[in-house]
């Protein structure tokens, strides 16, 4: 053999090895070409290389045998047969890969399913617990509200009782002052030698009753008083009106002097109006020269304009 022929053969062998490595021997045989295409496709498929290495190896071996038969120039029936086997081995590798990928999926999904089931149970338990807590909190809140309402009712009742008690006490104290209940409230009448005719100066005999009145007012700081002055019919009505105001003012001064705040006391003068006795006798005129002290209710209000 000449040197050139050797070189050509070596080159051919090198080419065959190189081509064999990437499994793509150029082939004129249609079945063998198809088998190569299928195998190339399968071996570039990540799922196949991951899950069906051994099967892919067997397909590669089968393909090598077919290639060898082709390059050995064996008859078409043999080449076709071996190419068919390679083709089917490739298909087996792809099927096995599909199966194992699905099996792997089943495995991870099963684990995920267990995890999810546990999460759902935990979540449901949490929701149930929270619902129970909410219900409990609502019950407690309702109970607290009921208690608050009860306390308020009790307070209101106690306040009403205290108010009634203070009213009773006032009544008792004022009854000692001979107070009379009238349309516009309790009225204490200060008369009997209170003032001389034409005078607004309180006489000595009035002091004891004014002391009593001051004590009552101090005991009942919620009450206001309206001090109303009156005169007998001696003198002009204008001067009597002036005199009645001065008498009311005298009583107010006497009360403030005994520690009753001035702003709780209002004064008015009615002159010779509304006499309580006849002005034709000495005794009657003395009774008309008087001052009436009207008490307000608990809230400082007077029943009606007197």
């Amino acid at each position: 053999m000449k040197k050139q022929q050797w070189t050509t053969l070596a080159a051919s062998i090198a080419a065959a090895i190189a081509l064999g490595a990437c499994s793509s021997v150029p082939s004129q045989n249609a079945v063998l070409s198809d088998a190569h295409r299928s195998f190339d496709q399968a071996s570039s498929n990540g799922q196949v290389t991951q899950f069906a290495q051994a099967e892919l190896g067997r397909a590669r071996d089968a393909l090598s045998r077919a290639d060898k038969a082709w390059s050995d120039k064996q008859d078409d029936a043999e080449v076709n047969h071996l190419a068919y086997l390679a083709q089917q081995r490739t298909q087996v590798a792809m099927n096995v890969a599909t199966q194992r990928a699905a099996d792997a999926r089943v495995q991870t999904a099963s684990a995920e399913r267990e995890r999810l089931r546990a999460d759902i149970r935990t979540r449901q338990a949490e929701v149930a617990q929270r619902n129970a807590q909410t219900a409990q909190a609502q019950a407690q809140s309702a109970q607290a509200q009921a208690q608050f309402a009860q306390t308020q009712a009790q307070n209101a009742q106690a306040m009403a009782a205290a108010e009634a008690e203070r009213a009773n006490r006032l009544q008792r104290e004022l009854s000692e002052l001979a107070a009379k209940p009238t349309d516009h409230g309790l009225v204490v009448m200060l008369q009997d030698v209170l003032f001389d005719t034409g005078r607004a100066t309180l006489k000595e005999g009035a002091q004891a009753r004014l002391d009593q009145l001051a004590v009552v007012l101090r005991n009942h700081p919620e009450r206001r008083v309206l001090v109303e002055g009156f005169t007998d019919s001696v003198g002009s009505s204008d001067s009597n009106l002036e005199l009645s105001r001065a008498r009311a003012e005298s009583v107010r001064n006497a009360l403030t002097a005994r520690g009753v705040p001035a702003d709780r006391i209002d004064t008015r003068g009615f002159g010779e109006a509304r006499p309580v006795a006849s002005n034709s006798t000495q005794a009657g005129r003395q009774q008309n020269r008087r001052v009436e002290v009207v008490f307000s209710d608990e809230r400082g209000q007077f029943a009606a304009a007197p």
Binding site: A77, E78, H81, Y84, L85, Q88, R89, Q91, V92, N95, V96, T98, Q99, R100, A102, D103, R105, V106, A109, S110, E112, R113, L116, R117, D119, I120, R123, Q124, V127, R130
Partner: protein
């Protein structure tokens, strides 16, 4: 003739021995009864593994080729018998792997569906107050 030196019965025995040797070695050119039996077992086990003729055309092909291999062997068409037996075996493998892949894919689809149901349930459980 030199050929007459070997008796007829002796020639037949030599042929049988040669066939047995070739059969034992898997690259042998002649299928033995043993090889056909193994092919038959492969085809049947593929069938048992769930590869039906309906689901996989390869199953029918395998059975068909096995029958043809038997016939070829009876007709002493040894090359054809060997080809058909080998192809029947690989067809049965395809059928078997296809059936297994289908089965696993079905299982994966079912578990994915049940996962989707559970995720819905989780969403409901989370949004429930």
């Amino acid at each position: 003739m030199a050929r007459d030196l070997i008796p007829r019965g002796c020639a037949f025995a030599l042929t049988l021995a040669g066939a047995a040797m070739l059969g034992a070695c898997s690259t042998g050119k002649v299928p033995t009864a043993e090889q056909l039996g193994a092919t038959r077992a492969s085809v049947e086990s593929a069938q048992i593994a769930g590869a039906s003729d309906d689901a996989t055309p390869e199953m029918a092909k395998a059975r068909e080729k096995l029958a043809q291999a038997d016939a070829a062997a009876r007709a002493k068409d040894n090359v054809r018998a060997r080809h058909l037996a080998e192809e029947a075996e690989v067809d049965a493998l395809v059928a078997r792997s296809k059936a297994a892949a289908d089965k696993s894919q079905k299982a994966a689809a079912e578990i994915d569906a049940s996962l989707a149901t559970l995720r819905d349930e989780m969403t409901r459980a989370t949004s429930k107050q």
